[in-house]
Amino acid sequence: MAAEPVKISLVSNKPFIWNAEDACIVLEKYRIVGALAGCLSRAPRQNIQLGLPLQLMPEEAMLLLQEGYAQLVNSDQNAKLPSPEQVDRFQKMREESFKQQAEIGIAERKLIVQRRLDQIKEGRKAKRKQRLEKKKANGQDVDERELMRDEDKLDVKDIQITPMGQEHALVQIFTETPWVEEVDTDVRWDFPSTEEERVRYRVFRDLWRKGHSLTCGGKFGGDFLVYPGDPSRFHSFYIAVCLLHHQTMSAEKVVAMARLGSTVKKTVVLCSVDDDDELTYTSLQWTGIS
């Protein structure tokens, strides 16, 4: 049974995955890493850990599309005003959610009261004593039997619990809208369109097919970082720099790249497509001769 293709939507011509399950699938099944670009609603004012959506490099998205693992969807439809039927469903969902939360709230409160029952009893006794002492001091008549009244028969159901107001209900904010079912796949994407983009995509695809994982190489002055396996478990081995086969660069540039590579314990690999339309890889290393 072929798996349902994951949905990629283009926003400002950049590919994003909004669905949480899809994001897991592309990493676990297809070795596509991407980069989380969104804010976590429960931990907003930091950028150590980001959340959905998962932003893909154009090469990553293109590969998923070409292999049939993904489909491009039109996210503009989300900007349409909701139909009366959708509004109705939305209201019902909110009410249902609030009801469930209210029930759970009362159940939890009862548990707490049960745990604190002894304390509550003590507290009530003390309060009553205080009131009676005050009455005595004022010279009022005190029924001694009141003092003897036994609090120990107090039970959880005797304690009044205020129900939760709707203003305290938790509300889910969806990253992918649940209100739209039909998937609109009428989307055009012009990638790759330049010679450089074509080379980059071919290099990405070739290395991916060889079993590597690739991520963006911007931090190291390259196009891709190439890992022998899962990026969360390995350091990358290679910094891939994609060039046109006859694109010239100075010897100084070559030296700079190779030296950077050796400083971070990675091999810089110059990648291009040669005149026979074959992929070529040239590794640069510092010899360490000084």
């Binding site: 010897a251 190779a258 091999t267 070529t280 290393q285 360490g288």
Partner: protein, 166 residues
């Protein structure tokens, strides 16, 4: 005595070196590259004290290259190609170098580019066809300590020579 005269005198000395003459005898008509090769030859022999340093012609590329090894005992011979640091490199060119610079005494598939600057500084960077994984951390640590020991031994030797002279 003009400055030009002194500078010309120094360059003349290199030009009359027998190894330089040997390089020019191949008829490549590439005096710049021959001069770079001359500097690399001297650097490897005198400064780095490598062993079995030899010059070879490459007729396809009309360039001179060298074979050398780190020491007498270390049997691993390396291929070195001198180029200027003003050379315009591209991947096609580097592939040409790797394909044509070969020698029967060298097993290693890598080619070391010896990049010569106008002030005679030489940088050695290795290029290899394909994906070459980096050395694992244990090997890097071992190389560091080995190089450190060798340098320390060199320093000691120089000190001894200086002492004897004075």
């Amino acid at each position: 005595m003009g400055d030009v005269g002194v500078a010309a005198g120094e360059a003349n000395w290199l030009l009359s070196h027998p190894k330089y003459k040997e390089m020019m005898s191949h008829g490549f008509n590439n005096s710049d590259q021959a001069l770079q090769a001359m500097l690399v030859y001297l650097d490897l022999c005198e400064a780095k004290q490598w062993a079995k340093v030899s010059l070879h012609p490459c007729s396809e590329l009309k360039m001179i290259f060298l074979t050398a090894q780190e020491s007498e005992r270390d049997g691993q011979a390396h291929l070195m190609l001198p180029i200027g640091n003003d050379a315009e490199l591209n991947i096609a060119q580097m592939k040409q170098y790797i394909d044509h610079i070969k020698h029967p005494s060298v097993e290693c598939p890598s080619l070391t580019l010896a990049i010569v600057a106008s002030d005679s500084t030489i940088l050695y960077y290795k290029i290899t066809d394909g994906l070459v994984p980096p050395d694992p951390p244990e090997q890097l640590q071992a190389k560091k300590t080995l190089r450190g020991k060798r340098k320390a031994a060199q320093r000691k030797a120089h000190k001894f020579i200086k002492m004897k002279k004075s």
